[in-house]
Symmetry: C2
């Protein structure tokens, strides 16, 4: 099998290309793509538990912990003891993080539109379905 | 835009899943996916120039240099001065690397088949075309 036919090579190349675009665009608001992922877990799903966020984003707990450290250092969030279960930590976004929501959503939408600008609606739906099938297999 | 619709999120999730499968399978012969990429550049394209390999694999020269260090440490290759241009280094695979070719190709083919086992031939062709369009855009 030629390497240009290898699904790992193709996925890695496409992911890298899109990741770099996303990374460069999110710099505008001082975020990395994974920090966007954390914020989106709160904005979209009201998650506050770091473990739940790690699981959703498919990264290790220790990785999320480091990301939260940097986000806390930038004043985007605070960690608190969960009043319902004092063994757990919950995160709470700061006002400055909340203020980012609109511009971050606009940036992410623009990157998506740019990356898929030559795709028809049908092709986009099919492409996303293929990616989900691979991810969930 | 919901995060589950974000092309960066979907590509990252699918890539991660396939990368882990490839990584675990290549462990059988003591290689990492990127080391496979380097070997394949030699086997398939007869590349011997580290810069050319870096460019094909889409990684930094310094990254390839570190990968070559580790591969040299494992006895997979030697670096030599290019007799045609003494300013350049070329790599030359060892016999033990050459002996890996068949089993590595079998492993990579098996991972590809496993990842795409629920896809029809037509879907596979379409999926790969989408990934190439994103990568080359």
């Amino acid at each position: 099998m030629n390497i240009e036919e290898c699904i790992n090579f193709l996925l890695t190349g496409a992911q890298h290309k899109v990741f770099i675009k996303m990374k460069n665009s999110l710099k505008e608001v001082g975020l990395t793509p994974i920090q966007y992922g954390v914020l989106k877990c709160v904005w979209q799903f009201d998650m506050s538990n770091p473990k739940e966020i790690a699981e959703f984003l498919g990264v290790e707990n220790s990785t999320v912990s480091g990301i939260l450290d940097r986000m806390q250092g930038k004043g985007l969030l605070e960690r608190e003891i969960d009043a319902n279960d004092r063994r757990h930590i919950i995160i709470r976004l700061s006002d400055s993080a909340k203020e980012l929501e609109k511009s971050v959503n606009r940036i992410v939408l623009e990157v998506n539109q740019k990356v898929l600008e030559d795709f028809t609606e049908e092709e986009i739906a099919q492409f996303k379905q293929y990616l989900r099938r691979v991810k969930e297999a």
